[in-house]
């Protein structure tokens, strides 16, 4: 995030955004970069500033003309981005992990799924973000009771119709084979899904030029996002020659290895 390096001639750039930062770091890892050119301290300091009082993270903040406003858009998506960023850069000391875990726990709904925040309706995407965050922090067993995990597993398993839906009574969508699939992997319950039915669904959303669409209907076009999730969903099932997928970090096992090697040489502070 260029926050600390902002000068007159770059002030017209987009405000740095947590999700973009998350993507940028992952892309660098995937491409084999060693991250040595990242302003690690600057980025982690900026990250710490984005944590809200309730433990969640906002997407960005801005100071202009002595008027400070930090955007309230704090939710589970950015909690996840923050955890991954802190993990990659070995910077857990820059964020309040206990507060973050409290936010996640408070976002568990009555039916065993996580909403974007406390009181909010449970959703496949935010469920992934919550579980992946806890897994990366190695706090799954500390924050979730056995009963919680049982409820969450059941909720996730019941999202499968053939493919997966993101919430009860909604349509199946390719990307939930990823969000829910990874959630189940994290809770060691992916083995209970019906893999054949999942594959059938994914074959129906794959288009003739190779990309994946959101829905199976013919008029639904393929797009990059769903193509990515479709391939990841197949990787989860160890299909063909795809690299394995790290279900919490959202990168291949190959890229995860690179990260591990890099972390061995970086010291936390």
């Amino acid at each position: 995030m260029p926050g600390s390096r902002e000068q007159e001639n770059n002030v017209v750039w987009d405000t740095a955004h947590l999700a973009m930062t998350y993507c940028a770091l992952l892309i660098l890892l995937i491409l084999g970069d060693d991250l040595s050119k990242i302003d690690r301290k600057g980025l982690l300091q900026a990250l710490g500033n984005l944590q809200r009082e309730d433990g969640s993270f906002g997407s960005s903040s801005e100071e202009r003309n002595d008027i400070t406003f930090s955007f309230k858009e704090g939710d589970m998506r950015f909690v996840y981005c923050a955890v991954v960023i802190a993990h990659i850069l070995n910077g857990y000391s820059y964020i309040d992990i206990q507060l973050l875990c409290d936010f996640i726990k408070n976002s568990l709904s009555y039916e065993g799924s996580f909403g974007q925040g406390p009181l909010q309706e449970g959703h496949g995407g935010s469920t992934f973000c919550a579980l992946a965050s806890l897994h990366i922090l190695d706090k799954l067993d500390e924050v979730l009771s056995e009963n919680d995990k049982e409820l969450i597993v059941r909720w996730c398993l019941f999202r499968q119709q053939s493919g997966f839906q993101g919430r009860p009574n909604k349509e199946e969508d390719t990307c939930y084979s990823f969000w829910i699939g990874c959630s189940l992997k994290i809770l060691k319950s992916f083995k209970w899904i019906d893999k054949e039915k999942n594959k059938v669904w994914l074959s129906r959303t794959q288009r003739k030029f190779g990309g994946f669409a959101k829905y199976a209907e013919g008029n639904c076009r393929e797009d990059l996002g769903h193509s990515y999730f479709g391939i990841c969903a197949l990787a989860l099932m160890k299909e063909s020659e795809l690299h394995g997928l790290h279900p919490a970090l959202n990168i291949s096992k190959r890229a995860t290895q690179r990260l591990k090697q890099r972390m061995l040489t970086t010291h936390a502070d």
Partner: protein
């Protein structure tokens, strides 16, 4: 050839589409360039502001432009404090224009995070916000799509602003559920109202959700809520036994409904696990595997514990 209607081939159509997309892309790029070039600390360019409204109407997810508009609003607020004449009409008009823009964007895309967030941000800076109108807007959007969680979340944010009581919200929740038992988001909203705080309310909610599952046992919405109500320590043994008997009768009418059997599992598991209970559970899980083969592995895993 003369007299023949020109029918575009697929290739021509694709080319046409590509040309249109390129036009849109050029307009977007030029628009963004102009807007960002005219950003200034103390003033703003009215043409850029208008341009940002045009771009957001087409794509309300360009959060950079919502942020730009927030900067402009802050400039206007600052100017208004500095003006000697205390007349906030101009400022109010400005806020109302922002609200109108978000409403326009929400009409075409009711799920844009940026639009909902900007609206709430404007209301929090508005010198005379009309919270009642916001409340009515919320109700309108909930009727259009009762699964739109942005709308439910917005409602949750503003109920405190207009002094809606918990009792009012419980009544609203009951009303929505009675309109449509299959309203998942309504059940969720109800679960957040801290409703199960005494034996009376537990008993009332048990009746409400029982009605729902018996009216439409195929729909999943109410079953999860039932499970949650049953997990409350205030549920009595008699209530559980009565429910179990009622479920047995319902199963005769709906033998293919897996939810009924699952509810029986929940009830039996909660009681003492005598030998009889384990036999029953074995029977239930065997039936569930037949009715719901998609989750065979899960049911076998559930039963392994016994």
């Amino acid at each position: 050839m003369h007299g023949r209607i020109k029918v575009r081939t697929t290739e021509e159509q694709n080319l046409q589409k590509h040309k249109e997309q390129q036009k849109k892309l050029t307009a977007y790029r030029m628009g963004m360039k102009q807007i960002l070039a005219t950003r200034d600390a103390d003033s703003y360019n009215k043409d850029s502001l208008a341009l940002s409204a045009q771009l957001l109407t087409i794509n309300p997810d360009i959060y950079t432009l919502w942020n730009y508009r927030k900067e402009v609003v802050l400039i206007e607020i600052k100017k208004s404090y500095q003006d000697e004449v205390a007349d906030d009409q101009k400022l109010i008009h400005f806020f109302e224009e922002e609200l109108r823009l978000t409403e326009q964007c929400l009409l075409s895309n009711p799920k844009s995070y940026g639009s909902w967030h900007h609206r709430y941000w404007i209301l929090n800076h508005h010198t005379k916000p009309n919270w009642q109108r916001e409340f009515d807007l919320c109700n309108k959007y909930v009727s259009l799509d009762d699964r739109n969680f942005h709308c439910w979340d917005f409602r949750r944010l503003i109920v405190n602003k207009i002094g809606i009581s918990l009792a009012d919200e419980i009544a609203f929740s009951t009303e929505r559920i009675n309109i449509n038992f299959s309203n998942y988001s309504s059940w969720h909203y109800r679960s957040t109202l801290q409703i199960l705080n005494d034996e009376n309310s537990v008993a009332n909610d048990l009746i409400l959700v029982q009605n729902a599952v018996f009216t439409d046992p195929i729909d999943t919405s109410a079953w999860f809520y039932l499970r949650w109500v049953l997990s409350h320590p205030g549920i009595t043994k008699i209530q559980k036994e009565d429910l179990l008997n009622a479920l047995e009768q319902l199963q005769e009418l709906e033998p293919e409904c897996k939810w009924i059997i699952m509810a029986k599992c929940w009830l039996v598991k909660q009681g003492n696990l005598e030998k009889d209970a384990i036999c029953r559970l074995k029977r239930y899980y065997t039936e569930l595997i037949k009715l719901d083969p998609l989750r065979e592995g899960h049911y076998k895993d559930c039963f392994k514990v016994f």
